[in-house]
């Protein structure tokens, strides 16, 4: 990148940001879009919380194409945004290329590990959180059949499904788990109609609790589950409020905290590898007034006991990513 472009980029940014501080942090959403009620929205909520608390502003962009990943990273870095946070594993490759060109900018990537001195990699132990909601699903299920609906059939979603299946089997070794994926194109992250169809199909096979790990598609899963009178489990953000008394719980993945922490730490934040698991509150299950009537005390005690064991390392949940296989579920 020539000096000329640095100047051009910087002036364009200055002209448009109308006097905003140059070290404004930036947040880049993945192709799923900002308001998916799930992963990207959790990131947005973290950034908004930071903006409200500090009274400062941040830059953001929702991507439209793959080629924009590197483009957005470079443009924000050249415009002086710092730190730059990106939500999604798909940024890994682009960041690996870009990070070394901007040694003074701090980058934070969520769901992926990029080994560079100015990058903080935040990964979540989704399998642990999914294990807990799997236990609750098995305890709440009367038919002994529970469902899982994923977005696309990619390793990350298999990690969710695998943790869930282990949790279910830990409570009820005879339980049947029906796992379906919504589709094979990125549209699968935002297809509530298909989510609804899959839920109906799983209900016909006897499922009475379904867990949706499918971004915006999950909205359709939760809706249909509520309409058909079965329980559902939300993902990433707390989705209990969507259908009070119908959503058993939500598997919380505190992407908002990761973004909030990154923005609060500011430029020059501590880099390296950060694992967000049950032990440090990175994942968990959601309890609020909307699902209080669905979760009884023994159920809660059992899950909390398992959570404590996972946190202390006494109980190890198998991670699909570690060997690309799952003992309780085949894909």
């Amino acid at each position: 990148m020539t000096l000329m472009h640095k100047i051009l980029g910087a002036t364009a940014a200055m002209a448009l940001s109308a006097g905003a501080a140059l070290a404004e942090p930036a947040l880049i959403f993945d192709l799923g879009g900002k308001f998916d009620k799930s992963f990207n929205e959790a990131a947005f909520n973290g950034a908004t919380r930071w903006a409200n608390e500090t009274g400062e502003t941040f830059r953001e962009i929702e991507l439209q194409s793959e080629a924009q990943r590197e483009q957005a990273l470079r443009r924000f870095a050249e415009a002086g945004s710092n730190p730059i946070v990106m939500a999604g594993f798909a940024f890994g490759d682009a960041l690996g290329q870009v990070a070394s060109d901007y040694p003074d900018t701090s980058f934070v990537i969520i769901d992926m590990v990029v080994d560079a001195p100015n990058v903080r990699s935040v990964v979540f132990n989704e399998h642990e959180g999914s294990y807990l909601v799997g236990m609750m699903a098995a305890e709440a299920s009367e038919s002994g059949t529970v469902g899982f609906i994923g977005g696309m059939d990619i390793p990350l979603i298999r990690k969710f499904a695998c943790g869930y299946a282990q949790g279910v089997k830990a409570v009820n070794p005879d339980a049947t788990i029906i796992a379906n994926m919504t589709g094979t194109t990125p549209a699968a992250w935002n297809d509530p109609v298909k989510g609804s169809e899959l839920t109906k199909a799983q209900i016909n096979q006897g499922a009475d609790v379904v867990y949706a790990a499918a971004g915006g598609t999950g909205v359709g899963v939760l809706q249909t589950a509520a309409d058909e009178g079965i329980l559902s489990i939300g993902v990433d953000s707390n989705q209990n409020y969507l259908h009070p008394g119908k959503v058993l719980t939500s598997m919380l993945k505190r992407v908002d905290n990761a973004v909030f922490d990154a923005f609060s730490d500011g430029p020059g934040l501590e880099t390296g590898f950060q694992i967000m698991g049950i032990a440090n509150g990175g994942v968990g299950y959601a309890m609020d007034e909307n699902n209080a009537s669905l979760v009884n005390d023994t159920m809660k005690a059992n899950v909390d006991a398992a959570a404590a064991k996972i946190a202390s390392g006494e109980l190890a949940v198998h991670d699909y990513m570690s060997d690309d296989s799952c003992p309780e579920l085949s894909f």
């Binding site: 472009h5 364009a12 439209q64 793959e66 080629a67 594993f89 890994g92 990619i154 390793p155």
Partner: protein, 365 residues
């Protein structure tokens, strides 16, 4: 005996359509409380104001050139190939296999091999719908669009289960080796002393796309095969009477079309990402339809339309980066251009015809 002279047909109709689309887009931007003039300025400076912007514009344009040509070749045979998306996906698979399995000594040989593989895979994907159309009369629109979904599923399976490096979260292949990295326009123009942005993804494939334009023109208007394709597209009974085989022409036109769509992969897979990702094509196959419509299925028209859509993509990205115009509205603006240039063609053409008719009558009188 055309009412509208050729120059008006080729230049005036698209230009007026574009202006109408721009005016409507301006109203949309006004309605959400942003300044349309500032937005247009930002799009133009962002997409055409620097070699960096040009680099991205030409990169997108290269994709659209290939898919636009693919659609236009099929159009000439009266076939509506909306399977460019799937053919380009399979082309990507061909490129990835060529680049990963064989250790190429130099990018020139690798590019040649990758182009052949991309073309072969794309053509193979188009061959089945073409065969079903030619032999069984299954409508090509239905079969090609269904093949897009099959291609997505195939790619998903291959990337998640077969070609993903062990332990990687990302459903994508490993990076291609250094030796097969294509030179970007920065490298090429650097040889003749022209300064071009290093960060932009436009690469040597752009020149191949231009070459493809020329070759398609030669094929369609300077060879017997092109003549047969065009006459079959104009009237099947007449072509059949002249001894042209419908089966052969359907197959050949679709194979060329599929190969062109597949060859898009040397731009986005080999030139830009340098690995195969799930979402590599991201709609370029469908944009190709709009490009071909707007370019009146002529290679030069396709070239201009592809540049326009490259501009819309890159300009749209700049809007998303520096304003609070949401990306959905950027899609709306792009859609308005397609609507006016593709679908509402007669809305501009008919008044224009009336005007020219009036002028002519006055002259004759």
């Amino acid at each position: 005996m055309d009412v509208v002279p050729k120059w008006a047909e080729v230049i005036l109709v698209p230009l007026i359509s574009l202006i109408l689309a721009a005016l409507l887009s301006a109203l949309v931007i006004l309605a959400i409380g942003e300044d349309p003039i500032a937005a247009v300025n930002l799009m133009i400076t962002g997409a055409l104001g620097s070699t960096y912007g040009w680099g991205y514009t030409l990169y997108y344009a290269t994709n659209f050139l290939f898919t636009g040509l693919a659609v236009s070749v099929a159009f000439h045979a009266g076939l509506f190939n909306i399977g460019g998306e799937g053919q380009a996906m399979l082309g990507g698979l061909g490129v990835a296999l060529a680049c990963l399995l064989i250790p190429w000594p130099h990018w020139t040989i690798a590019l040649l091999a990758a182009t052949v593989m991309a073309g072969l895979f794309g053509a193979a994907w188009a061959a089945i719908p073409a065969f079903l159309q030619a032999k069984r009369g299954s409508h090509i629109v239905i079969t090609t669009i269904m093949f897009n979904f099959i291609a997505a599923a195939v790619l998903n399976y291959v990337l998640v289960n077969l070609m993903r490096p062990a332990g990687s979260m990302d459903p994508a292949t490993a990076r291609f080796p250094e030796a097969v990295h294509l030179p970007t326009l920065h490298d090429i123009l650097g040889l003749v002393g022209i300064e071009f942005s290093r960060a932009a993804p436009a690469n040597v494939t752009f020149l191949i796309a231009i070459l493809a334009c020329v070759l398609v023109w030669l094929l369609m208007w300077r060879t017997w095969l092109g003549y047969e394709i065009r006459s079959y597209g104009k009237s099947e009974p007449a072509a059949r009477y002249a001894g042209i085989s419908p089966v052969a022409i359907t197959m050949i036109a679709m194979l060329i079309s599929g190969a062109l769509a597949g060859m898009m992969a040397i731009n986005n897979v080999m030139g830009e990402a340098e690995r195969l990702v799930l979402n590599a094509v991201e709609g370029a196959g469908f944009i190709g339809i709009a490009v071909a419509l707007m370019g009146r299925s002529h290679p030069f028209g396709v070239f201009l339309a592809a540049i326009l859509f490259g501009f819309l993509y890159q300009g749209g990205a700049e809007l998303a980066l520096w304003t609070s115009i949401p990306r959905e509205l950027i899609v709306v603006i792009q859609a308005l251009v397609i609507l006016f240039t593709g679908a509402l063609d007669n809305m501009v053409r008919m008044p224009l015809e009336r005007i020219f008719l009036m002028l002519r009558r006055r002259r004759d009188a």
